[in-house]
């Protein structure tokens, strides 16, 4: 056999993509959401469990269908930083697993992960009684195993971290629930490459107010005009973090804040349930 010559076939074809025959990509013009079972205000069902990491003082695992992440809490333990501080330090580190996103992530923490870590610590710090643990740090490590939507990932990380903190027995003022929403233009997007028949009938489309989709998944995020992530302490009625990107009218923002607060109250019940369950196991 001649090894120097390429022995491949003369003709090559693109690989076949496995989609059912009636498969149609979801677009914002569709009346229903990408997940047809959900209404715009519905979140994905949450699976939340504590104590999956043995070595950690506290841990939590959260799953919103295809968004999956694990969180471990270590501490309070002596701070590595020299110098005295009357308050403890909450140190968050989030890492997307290399295989978690559409594009491969590197092993090193990239600037986005560094910023997310900062956001997480800002979202959780208002809830934690750091004044009770001077000279110490509390380390929170989050690994994203599978990401189906950036916003939902951040929100899930906040929820899981706060449950893990509670599971570690660290004194807190309240649990922090995280929630995300996306603003999706309801009319035909100007950038959509295929001018469809709906363009003519729905000419005023882009000027319509965008729809607010709670807990948007990756497919919906591709069409988003803006997004919001909100962290909220339900019992204290305090917003601990808010991150909004993209362009939106003031009314849409205030509406989505209200929706997110409402959703956080629902998530709170799930968090509560998971923690009560973990206490039952220990008995």
């Amino acid at each position: 056999m001649d090894r120097k010559r390429v022995a491949g076939p003369e003709l090559s074809v693109a690989p076949l993509v496995e989609y059912p025959r009636d498969h149609k990509r979801w677009t914002p013009q569709d009346e229903q959401r990408h997940d047809t079972k959900r209404q715009p205000e519905d979140m994905r069902p949450i699976y939340l469990k504590t104590g999956l990491i043995n070595q950690a003082n506290g841990s939590a695992y959260i799953e919103l269908e295809k968004t999956k992440l694990a969180c471990g809490v270590y501490g309070p333990r002596p701070g590595k930083r020299t110098g005295f501080s009357g308050h403890g330090v909450l140190n968050c580190e989030i890492k997307f697993a290399t295989f978690s996103c559409a594009k491969r992530r590197g092993h090193m923490r990239d600037p986005q992960e560094k910023e997310l870590s900062q956001i997480l610590s800002q979202a959780l710090t208002p809830a934690v009684r750091l004044d009770l643990v001077p000279k110490s740090t509390i380390d929170i490590f989050i690994t994203v195993l599978e990401s189906d939507g950036w916003g939902s990932c951040v929100a899930a990380a906040i929820t899981a971290a706060s449950v893990a903190l509670a599971h570690a027995g660290i004194e807190m003022l309240d649990l922090v629930a995280g929630c995300s929403a996306a603003y999706i233009p309801s009319g035909p997007s100007i950038a959509s490459p295929t001018p469809s028949a709906t363009d003519a009938t729905n000419a005023t489309g882009p000027s319509l107010a965008p729809r607010i989709f709670m807990d948007a998944d990756l497919e919906e995020e591709k069409y988003e005009q803006g997004a919001i992530v909100l962290a909220y302490m339900p019992s204290l009625n305090e917003v601990t973090h808010m991150l909004q990107s993209g362009k939106a009218e003031g009314s849409i923002v205030s509406q989505s804040v209200e929706h997110c607060v409402e959703a956080c109250n629902k998530i709170y019940a799930v968090m509560h349930h998971a923690l009560v369950e973990s206490v039952g196991e220990n008995k």
Partner: protein, 319 residues
Amino acid sequence: MPGLISPAERDYILKGIECNIRADGRQRADYREVTLETGVISQTSGSARVRIAGGTDVLVSVKAEIGPVQVDPETGDGADKGQIVCSVECAPSASQQFEGRGADDLNNELTQMMTRFLSNSTSNPSVSSTASAGAGGINLSKLCIIPGQQCWILFVDALVLDYGGNLVDAVFMGARAAIYDTRIPKTEVQDLGDGQFEFEVLDDAEDTEFVEGRENMPICVTLNKIGARHIVDASPLEELCTEARLVVAVNRSGELCGQQKGHDGGIEPSLLLEMIQFGKTTGQTLIKQLDARLQEEADADLAKRQRGEPVHKLGFFAQ
């Protein structure tokens, strides 16, 4: 940038803000005097220097370079779009705390914030949104030279030269003014047939164009929640008393282009909405004043050029 504050001083600031009078005599909603000048650096495509009386000094430069377009492999989006790459750096000379790696966190936070608010993609870098006009306001399609191949990349670099509080607002004011000042050379595309294209950058200094959509760029208003009140344009000491900070990005037509909470405190939802509303109106007034100043400067420069007089910039002598 002091790192600590005494309880007595904190109390003084807190009580003052409660009574609507701050340590430097301002009211809660008052800005300090802002000095803005564009075209200060000759090597750039556009530049601006912002000084806030009291110390903050930011230099922003925009450099336009030609590079390959970035196409999303999944959606095929981005083939006909230029790019904006932002970065913020705090010079070690600005503050004792910026020495060594001390400014890393701040640099990263500001860079990410700027990328989020100014470039048209949304929060997720792996997904470029198909929504036409993003928060940044700039028409990226106009920055494309040959679809699918070459485009202009605008590098927006902010350098913090001195720190006197309210860095975020200054950086965004500077970025807006620098892009306002930016001129990009015109290009001529030739069709060679077979889907092959070639382009030429026109050398003529007069034959340049402004960035389309520059007037729709947002600026940021930072609201610092101290006690139960919120203030704008905080001084370094006031920033140390801040429980929570809300950055509201707003454009000329009053659309919200992004918000981000900072610092380690919480805000009640009702106060949050009030702060957003307040940030929006303050931002709109501020943009109007900045636009008037930019226009005035552009007119003055043009008049001088027509008369054949050299244009002198105050540059680093501006106080």
